[in-house]
């Protein structure tokens, strides 16, 4: 039974979950999407703990509102839309919180400030440090551009899928991606790419 379910597509699994309330189908969907969603949300938020909460919340929403899914759309589009909306809400909440608690941060604890020496190639040698630098630079990209860039370059989605997730047309998606990339390139000026 479980083996057969694993062979089903995402859309078929959610249909099984909708019609027969088969929780095994839901569990398979969770297994399939937990890592991609975690990656997407983490790149957007830059914080692992809140990213984990957001992904869990996304799964709970899928569980609770399974009947609202329509087979017209792709399941991946639907679940990414939910995750994206929750991530944006969380990001705005964090930003508000940072505004109110800005005095709590010391000079060294500024969350998104990049020290100048980090850009130096001799300093940024370790891959872990490089990832951190890129993530910090990504967090400086405008919210709407960042989401589009992550979906395209990190998640490898098509423009059509991204347009559906973001609820805008493909032209807008391309424009946002280009602007996001341009901002990122500007931020990573002097950074030694691998």
């Amino acid at each position: 039974m479980d083996k057969n379910l694993r062979e089903l597509s995402d859309e078929e699994l959610i249909l099984e979950f909708q019609k027969n309330n088969l929780e095994a189908a839901f569990e398979i969907l969770v297994q399939r999407y937990k890592n991609p969603l975690t990656n997407f949300v983490f790149r957007f938020l830059g914080d692992y703990e809140s990213c984990n909460d957001v992904v869990q919340e996304t799964m709970i929403k899928v569980y609770r509102y399974k009947d609202t899914y329509s087979s017209v759309a792709k399941f991946s589009t639907w679940i990414y839309t939910i995750a994206g909306n929750l991530a944006k809400t969380e990001y705005r909440r964090q930003r508000r919180r940072n505004i109110f608690t800005i005095s709590d941060y010391g000079e060294d604890n500024k969350p998104y400030d990049l020290p100048d020496e980090s850009y130096r190639p001799d300093v940024a040698t370790d891959s872990g440090i490089k990832d951190e630098i890129i993530q910090k630079a990504l967090m400086k990209v405008k919210e709407t551009y960042r989401e589009a860039v992550i979906l395209r370059d990190s998640q490898g989605m098509s423009y059509e899928e991204i347009a559906e997730i973001l609820g805008v047309n493909e032209g807008t998606v391309k424009s946002r991606i280009n602007r996001g990339r341009a901002q990122l390139q500007e931020l990573l000026k002097g950074f030694s790419y691998r």
Binding site: S154, G156, R194
Partner: protein, 242 residues
């Protein structure tokens, strides 16, 4: 599009090669626990409007409204541009002219009466005979007194009527003709017989009528006389026919 991809090739590759972030190992267990906890504790979540109208949340907004109201009134009281509506004098309509000096009118009327009496004396209007019995003289006195009383009453009713008329027309002014007619009628050349009749009888006399005497030109007088003769001849004809 390909140009853009080439332009940002390094950035794209960097993002693609980023280390994949994975969900924690206990992700599914945590999720199951959360789903179960939600299943058993299905709390009814309050709606947006219900949340808004929680009394504690209303306090800041109500405070803000109260402060705004106070500021508004303070600013308004200090502003010189605005006049206090309670201190502005009521506007007077130019089309309304109030005439309330009835006492003056009454005095004029009294004067006119005196004048008419003096006229009567000049024309030797016969006084009531002294040999008449006391009861008759008493009755005459009574009737003349009543007559005076009636005249005054008539004057007051005419004043009231004129007043009402003026009010109904949206104008409080009394028409001058209302009283001018009376005074003019008194000034007319009343014959001795007529004046004695007026005193003796209680019927409606010329004095009580509200009309104006006009000075006619000789031509007009001629026309009037012709008309009179025509009317008289008509009257005679009617009598003969009967």
């Amino acid at each position: 599009m390909e140009n853009d991809e080439k332009k940002y090739e390094k950035v794209i590759n960097t993002l693609k090669n980023l280390k994949e972030v994975k969900a924690p190992e206990n992700f599914e267990a945590d999720l199951r626990r959360r789903i179960n906890s939600e299943k058993f504790s299905k709390k009814e979540r309050k709606g947006f409007w219900q949340n808004i109208f929680v009394p504690a949340r209303l306090i800041p907004s109500l405070g803000l409204i109260a402060a705004a109201a106070v500021i508004f009134f303070v600013m308004d009281a200090n502003s010189e541009k605005m006049d206090n509506p309670f201190l502005i004098e009521p506007r007077v309509r130019e089309d309304l002219i109030a005439v309330t000096d009835y006492e003056q009118l009454k005095e004029e009327h009294q004067k006119a009466l005196k004048k008419s009496e003096s006229l009567k004396r000049e024309k030797n209007i016969p006084e009531p005979k002294p040999e008449q019995d006391e009861s008759k003289s008493f009755r005459d006195e009574k009737t003349s007194g009543r007559k005076e009383q009636n005249r005054l009453d008539n004057l007051s009713t005419e004043q009231d009527m004129a007043k009402d008329k003026g009010k109904s027309e949206g104008n409080i002014a009394l028409p001058e003709s209302a009283f001018a007619g009376i005074s003019d009628s008194i000034q007319t050349n009343v014959s001795a017989e007529e004046s004695s009749d007026i005193i003796a009888d209680e019927r409606v006399t010329k004095d009580e009528l509200n009309f104006r005497q006009i000075q006619l030109s000789p031509k007009e007088q001629k026309v009037v006389n012709e008309l009179k003769t025509q009317v008289q001849s008509l009257g005679k004809n009617n009598k003969t026919q009967k």
